[in-house]
Symmetry: C2
Subunit: 342 residues, 2 copies
C-alpha cells in the first residue's frame, strides 16, 4: 500500500458528485435568499463592531449546509408556511456562534481561507459577538411560536457545548474508545444537523414519525460529515478545499483515524503517537510520519467507510417519505458529504 | 476637601442598613432553597468538568441578588405558582455565564475573593461552560411555557452582550457622554435586573401595569447598582468587601467617576487621564493620584448621588403595589445598594 494519503482513492470510488450541492442550492435558493436577509437583519446592531465582526465570518463563503438542510426538509414535507426561514437563520447563528468561540478556544488564525475574527479583533469582542449571535438565535426561535421547537434547539445548543467540553477533556487520550468518539461528534456536530431537520417536522405538524425520520436523517448525516472532516484533516484532498492539513495533529486532538492507528500500531508506533499527540512534542517531519502511519494501517479509508455506513443510515431514514426532487437532493447530499474525501 | 477616598462619608449619610439584605434573604429563603436545587440539577452533566467549573463560581458566595429579585417580586404580587423558581435559576445562569465570559475577556484572576475559573482551568473550558450555562438558561426559560417570558429574557441576553461590546469599543474614551455611559450600564447590568422582575409580572398574569412597574423597578435599581459599583472601584470601602481597588483604572475602563473628573479637570489633569487611561501608560502611584483627583472634584460622591436618584425612581416604581413586607424589603434593598458605598 502506498504511503501517500491520497490512497483514499484506492477504493476506486466514484468521484464526489459535486453537482449534488449545486442542485440542493438551486432547490433552496429562493428561501435561502430570505434566510440571508433575516441573517443580515438580525446580526445588525447600533454597535457597529457587532455586524462587522459577525459579517466577517457569516459572509465568508460558508456552504450554509445546516440552514440548507432546514429548507430542504421543508420542501421534503411540503411545508407551506414561513416559519422555517427564521429557524434556518437561528440554526446558522448557533453554528456561527460556535465557530467564533471555537476559534478563540483553539487560538485559530485561519478559517475558510480568511483570517479569523479573534486574530483581527482579538478574543474579547469575538467571545462577546458569539454570545450576541447565540442570544439572537434564541430570539429567532422564540418567534417560531413553538415551545417544542424551542426545546429541541435549546437542548441542541446545550449538548453542543457539552460535547465540546467532553472533547476538550478527552481530546488527547489515544485510548479513547470509538464509542466515546462517536458520542463526542454526535454532540458537537450531529445534534445540530438533527435539530435543523427535526424542527421542520414540528412546525409542519406532520406527526411523530416525520419528526423522528427527519431527526435521524440529520443525526446520521452529521456523524458521517464529521467522520469525513476528521479524515480530511490528514488528507491531501483537504488542501484542495482551501484548508490547512494536520490541524488536529498539531493540536493533539485525537479523532478516529488516530484512535485506530494507535490501536493497530506497534509498540514503537504507539510511543510515537503518545509523544506527539499526548505530550505534544512535535518536530519537523512528524506530521508526515503520522500521515504515513495512518496510510499504512488504512485508518483514513476505514474512517470514510464508517462515514459511508452512517450515510446509508441517513438515507434509509428518509424511506418514509415518498419520492420527490427534495428527497433525491437530500439523498445525493449524503453521498456528496461522504465522497468529498475522494 | 480631604484627598482621601473615604470622603464619600463626608455627606454624613446613615450607614448602609446591612440587615436589609438579610431580611430579603430570610423572606425568600424557602424559594431560594428550591432555586439552588434547580441550579445544582441543571448545571450537572456527565462531563465532570462542567459542574466542577460552573460550581466553582456558582458556589462562591455570590449574593444571588438577581434571582432574589425574582423571588421577592413573586411575593410582592402574591404569585402562588412555581414558575418563578425556574426563572430565577435561569436569571442566575445568564448572570454566571456572563461572569465566566467577562473573566476570560478581561483576563481576570480574582473574583469574589477566589481564583477565577479561567485562571484555574484555562480559557477554553471557561468559554464553553459559559455557553453551556447560557443554553441551560434557555432550557429553563422554555419550561416556563410562556413565549412572552422567553422574548423578554432572550432579548435581555442579547442586549447584555451588545452592551458589553459597546463598552469594549468606547471603554477608554474619556469624552464618553454621561448618556452613552448610562446606555452601556443599562444594557450590561440593568436590563437583566429588569427582566428578573418583569417576568414575574408576566407569569402572574396581572396585566401591563404590574409588568411595567416591575420592569422599571428592576431597571432603575440595576442602574443605581452599577453606578455604585463603579464608584466603589475607587473607594477604600471596596477593600472591606474583599475586592481589589482600581481594576477599572488599570484596564482603562472609563466610568462615570473618571468621565466627570476628566470633564472638570485642568488641562494638565486631562493629560494625566489621557496618558493613564487612554494610552494605558501607568506608573507606580498613578492610581493614588487618580483617586486623589476624583476626590478633589467630588466625582465619587456625585456618582453616588446619581445612584440615589435612580434608586428613588426604583422605589417610586413600586407605588402601584399596596404596602406589604415584600414591598418594604424591595424598597430597603434599594437603599442598601446605594448605601453600600458608605
Amino acid at each position: 500500500m502506498s504511503s501517500n494519503v491520497v490512497n483514499m482513492r484506492d477504493h476506486k470510488q466514484p468521484a464526489a458528485d459535486k453537482e449534488a450541492i449545486d442542485r440542493l442550492q438551486a432547490m433552496t435558493a429562493d428561501d435561502m435568499q430570505l434566510v440571508n436577509e433575516t441573517i443580515l437583519k438580525r446580526m445588525d446592531s447600533p454597535v457597529a463592531l457587532i455586524p462587522e465582526l459577525a459579517g466577517h465570518l457569516i459572509s465568508s463563503g460558508g456552504k450554509r449546509l445546516r440552514p440548507m438542510l432546514t429548507l430542504a426538509s421543508a420542501k421534503l414535507v411540503g411545508y407551506e408556511g414561513k416559519r422555517h426561514i427564521g429557524l434556518a437563520a437561528a440554526v446558522e447563528f448557533i453554528h456561527t456562534a460556535t465557530l467564533l468561540h471555537d476559534d478563540v478556544v483553539d487560538e485559530s488564525n485561519m478559517r475558510r481561507g480568511k483570517k479569523t475574527a479573534n486574530l483581527i479583533w482579538g478574543n474579547q469582542p469575538t467571545v462577546l459577538v458569539g454570545d450576541f449571535l447565540f442570544s439572537r438565535s434564541f430570539e429567532l426561535m422564540v418567534e417560531s411560536d413553538s415551545l417544542r421547537v424551542l426545546k429541541i434547539l435549546a437542548n441542541a445548543a446545550a449538548v453542543i457545548t457539552e460535547g465540546e467540553v467532553l472533547q476538550l477533556t478527552t481530546a488527547n487520550d489515544l485510548t479513547t474508545s470509538e464509542e466515546k468518539y462517536l458520542e463526542v461528534i454526535t454532540a458537537k456536530t450531529a445534534v445540530l444537523f438533527a435539530a435543523a431537520c427535526e424542527v421542520v417536522g414540528v412546525v409542519s405538524e406532520q406527526g411523530a414519525e416525520v419528526e423522528s425520520g427527519l431527526e435521524a436523517y440529520g443525526r446520521y448525516l452529521g456523524i458521517a460529515f464529521q467522520l469525513v472532516d476528521d479524515a480530511l484533516d490528514y488528507s491531501a484532498k483537504q488542501a484542495t478545499l482551501g484548508k490547512e492539513i494536520g490541524d488536529d495533529f498539531r493540536e493533539g486532538k485525537v479523532t478516529l483515524p488516530t484512535i485506530l492507528a494507535y490501536r493497530r500500531g506497534s509498540e514503537e508506533e504507539q510511543k510515537f503517537w503518545k509523544s506527539t499527540m499526548e505530550r505534544r512534542k512535535q518536530a519537523e517531519g512528524d506530521l508526515e510520519k503520522a500521515i504515513d502511519l495512518l496510510s499504512q494501517h488504512g485508518t483514513l479509508n476505514d474512517t470514510i467507510e464508517r462515514a459511508r455506513h452512517y450515510g446509508n443510515m441517513a438515507k434509509d431514514s428518509l424511506a418514509i417519505f415518498r419520492d420527490s426532487p427534495a428527497k433525491k437532493a437530500l439523498i445525493d447530499i449524503v453521498d456528496f458529504c461522504v465522497m468529498r474525501a475522494y
